[in-house]
Amino acid sequence: MASVDKYSILLPTYNEIDNLPIIIWLIIKNMNASGFSYEIIIIDDGSPDGTLEAAQQLQKIYGEDKIVLKPREKKLGLGSAYIHGIKHATGNFIIIMDADLSHHPKFIKEFIETQKSHNYDIVTGTRYKGTGGVHGWDFKRKLISRGANLLTQILLRPGVSDLTGSFRLYKKDILEDLIKSCVSKGYVFQMEMIVRARQKNYTIGEVPITFVDRVYGESKLGGSEIVQFATALLYLFATT
């Protein structure tokens, strides 16, 4: 492959000791098969369950060129974990994904190919289109998700079907620019990123992904999700 592109995969972790070895194994397997140049940057926020020790073991197995560890002392949140990771990224593309096995690394190849086909600035995974979908969601969760999605589509007309997903590929400089212009915290941060990207006329491609609800470990996002979402929606409605 005559490509000089390098992909830095950011993996923020907090208490993912059971998931981390598996996700790393899957990324290595799929990325080696695809032939693209890559590195995995693990940003652990002082997980009490020993995620960092597991990461160190994995680094020994797969090498320091493939696995880069950039831990922080304490839990400082997802948004700042990305910023911290980007600072140390050596690739010209950044891939962000969750470490909890909801995002399958087999899709990374499709992200890269889609990006290359149109020279997109961003490629985002979508659960709401084509062969995309979710596993392990009950009726209520699907209803809330679909309802919130339609409301967002009507109010913001973002031109992207999945706004809150966090499985994405960005050109590095564009991700840096977007992070600077976003004010949201928590998971609505993903929504603001993609809406601001549209506002700035960045080009966005979509790849359908299957989302399998976490098998191991606990969800870190609390019940205030709906309130957070509504606030972010109104904020973006009034400012973009």
Binding site: Y128, R146, L150, I154
Partner: protein
């Protein structure tokens, strides 16, 4: 222009036309025959739109892919990964 401004602008324009028709600023035979319909048309429109949105949402909920194959495949891969990682010397912490 923000999305909020767009909505105010469009709602304002439609509202002005509606009011002009109602108050006969725009002479029109239709208005005389269908005054009631015109009067309630904004409410009718909102209700119809609500029903439309509800149908779309329910349709999308019922056609939401369940990804059972993806979940099964992941389970197999988890087992495969554990065996392979252990072979390479990875120690899985008991808990």
């Amino acid at each position: 222009m923000t999305k909020l401004m767009e909505w105010i602008f469009v709602a304002g324009a439609l509202g002005a036309i509606w009011l002009a028709l109602l108050t006969n600023k725009i002479e029109n035979i239709f208005v005389k025959d269908y005054y009631q319909l015109l009067l309630f048309s904004p409410i009718i429109f909102i209700v119809l739109f609500g029903i439309y949105a509800l149908i779309i949402v329910l349709y999308r909920v019922f056609t939401f892919n369940n990804c059972n194959e993806a979940a099964d495949e992941l389970q197999k891969e988890i087992q495969e990964a554990k065996v392979d990682l252990q072979r390479q010397g990875f120690y899985f912490k008991e808990h």
